[in-house]
């Protein structure tokens, strides 16, 4: 199950050339600077770019190739535009029903009641679209797209036009979407926080070309990509909630037989969670340190020592029971510890962020 695409688009100075595929499950983030072609790629997939050449196959169905091209209104996808683009002449209900009524009843897999519930739209149905706040408009736009029972949901920075409060309001809805409806999502963003919260897979664009594609955890920690080399470089680690220590107000998470300590969280034991660990918060010791205040010290293996990210600073990828963890160290430390690929070490983790909701 995959979405395979190969596109070529020229528009003035801008040129998009891509040949890749991504899984037709979960959330794929489309990441890149502004002008890298993220929106153009979404528009090509949606059939909104008349000048594009190439091919597009979704789960084996050809939507576009050399000989034919489905027009936008025949492609079974949902598109959430950056600005919502609600119909001003229709109420919220009218907007929601617009796409739903155009789907043959036998093909409807998503129904108004569940989407209204999922996105919390119950009290808004009679409102006109110009009476909604930014966050409400985006929720209606997402619900409207979902009600076409799409086989692929495209979202173009659905949070970009929102203030922090509206963003905080809508993110949990997006997470529920992921958990409760099995519709693959291709999600444009240039905000790392949104991506680490929502995505499983990532396409990295630069100047209209694909820089890398793969599982999010892998791409975040690849030393040859700008993500790992950035100041804010972060590794994603999956762990399971084991138990809570109420006396010390801690939560204890299991990670491949090892234990991580976090300040007490409201999480049920057994729940899988995603943790974010900044490269600058990881130190390395050759032997398990004693007499130290840090709680989180895990056995790891050096996977790779990368080139310097800036003078005197070296990025190291560790293997933490199969999961990659970035550490940013000084050149002097790397030399004095004699770090090489394959060496067993201990990773000292200063702080761990729980990435909500997963």
């Amino acid at each position: 199950m995959a979405i395979e695409l190969q596109f070529e688009l020229e528009r003035g100075e801008f040129r998009l050339r891509l040949d890749t595929q991504f899984p037709a499950t979960g959330v794929t983030a489309l990441f890149g600077r502004s002008g890298s072609g993220k929106t153009s790629l979404l528009r090509c997939i949606a059939g909104l770019e008349p000048g594009v050449r190439g091919r597009l196959r979704v789960n084996g169905d050809t939507w576009q190739d050399d000989t034919h091209c489905l027009p936008a209104h025949r492609r079974p996808l949902g598109y959430v535009f950056q600005e919502g683009r609600l119909f001003p002449h229709l109420s919220v209900r009218g907007n929601l029903e617009y796409g739903y009524r155009r789907i043959p009843p036998g093909q409807r897999r998503v129904h108004p009641e569940e989407v209204v519930e999922l996105l919390g739209l119950g009290t808004l149905l009679r409102r006109r679209s110009d009476e909604l706040s930014g966050g409400q408009r985006q929720r209606v736009a997402i619900a409207r797209a979902l009600l076409t029972s799409p086989r692929l949901l495209l979202m173009d920075e659905p949070l970009a036009a929102l203030d922090a409060a509206s963003k905080a309001e809508i993110l949990p809805y997006l997470e529920r979407l992921h958990g409760e409806l099995s519709i693959p999502v291709l999600f444009v963003s240039h905000v790392m926080d949104e991506i680490t919260r929502l995505a499983d897979h990532m396409l990295l664009l630069e100047h209209g070309q694909l820089l890398a594609a793969g599982p999010l955890q892998e791409l975040l920690t690849r030393g040859d990509l700008p993500l790992a080399r950035a100041d804010e470089a972060v590794s994603l680690v999956e762990a399971v909630v084991e138990r809570h220590d109420d006396a010390d107000h801690l939560s204890i998470l299991g990670l491949n037989g090892m234990q991580l300590h976090l300040p007490r969280q409201q999480l049920a034991p057994g729940k899988r969670v995603r943790l974010g660990i900044h490269a600058r918060d990881v130190s390395i010791a050759l032997t398990p340190p004693v007499g130290i205040s840090m709680l989180n010290c895990l056995a790891a293996t050096v996977r790779e020592v990368h080139a310097e990210t800036r003078p005197g600073e070296v990025l190291v990828t560790l293997d933490l029971g199969g999961q990659a963890l970035l550490a940013r160290l000084t050149r002097r430390s790397v030399r004095s510890l004699g770090l090489r690929a394959g060496m067993p070490v201990h990773a000292l983790i200063k702080s761990v962020a729980l990435i909500e909701g997963r």
């Binding site: 909104l48 936008a72 209104h73 949902g78 598109y79 683009r85 001003p88 796409g99 155009r102 797209a145």
Partner: protein, 226 residues
């Protein structure tokens, strides 16, 4: 009671004028809508020329339009030479003339209305499975109601007051091509001011009513939309 005020010939002219205005408006809406849509969306260079041609009746003396239409539609004109009927001095001829004469009053409001609907909204409709015709009737038309209202009223009202074009290609055949404006002219020529008064006042009152209802409706629209 009405007969004491209006002669049978004048009431025939009134009826004919309304019939002409109604048919002309209908034809203009049917032809003007696709033309306005094309003008609002195209990037072709010929758009400039077509826009200018559509606007010409605003500035040309109606007699000029009438004169060329007379040459085109009359006996020995190219249409007749190609085996078509002679339209000059018939009701059909009047409709053709009025369509040209009132064209900008229908096309321009529609074009403005269509242009104000961005590609963005239409793309959203397409992504919700609406095909081109579906998009026109469920998004473009409802969002252009004001434009259609203005186009219909102006097209109708402007055709009511037509004189020059009608005179040139319709002549003045009572019951066939004689419209109110020409009947008024005839009455004045014959120094029958009473009859001229009745018809003029009728036309004045009617045009006022049409325009005031347009502006009233338009104002309500604007309030609802803003």
């Amino acid at each position: 009671m009405l007969e004491t005020w209006i002669s049978p010939q004048d009431s025939r002219a009134l009826w004919l004028t309304f019939k002409l205005a109604a048919i002309t408006t209908l034809v203009l809406l049917l032809l003007g809508t696709p033309l306005a849509w094309w003008l609002a969306r195209t990037r072709a260079r010929i758009k400039l020329v077509i826009e200018t041609l559509v606007a010409l009746p605003l500035v040309l003396p109606p007699t000029v339009i009438g004169f060329y239409l007379l040459l085109l539609l009359g006996a020995q004109g190219p249409i007749q030479a190609l085996g078509g009927p002679a339209f000059a001095f018939t009701f059909t001829g009047l409709v053709i003339g009025s369509v040209f004469y009132s064209l900008p009053f229908v096309v321009q409001p529609l074009q403005n209305a269509f242009a104000s609907i961005g590609d963005a909204t239409l793309e959203a409709a397409a992504s919700l499975r609406a095909g081109p015709w579906d998009r026109f009737f469920t998004v473009v038309a409802p969002l252009s109601l004001r434009g259609f209202l203005t186009a219909t009223t102006l097209g109708f009202a402007h055709t009511l007051g037509e004189f020059g074009v009608v005179l040139m290609i319709g002549g003045n055949i009572p019951g066939e091509t004689q419209v109110v404006s020409i009947a008024i002219y005839d009455h004045v020529e014959a120094v029958d001011y009473a009859s001229a008064h009745v018809l003029s006042a009728l036309l004045l009152g009617l045009s006022f009513l049409l325009l005031i209802s347009l502006y009233a409706l338009d104002g309500r629209f604007r309030m609802r939309l803003s």
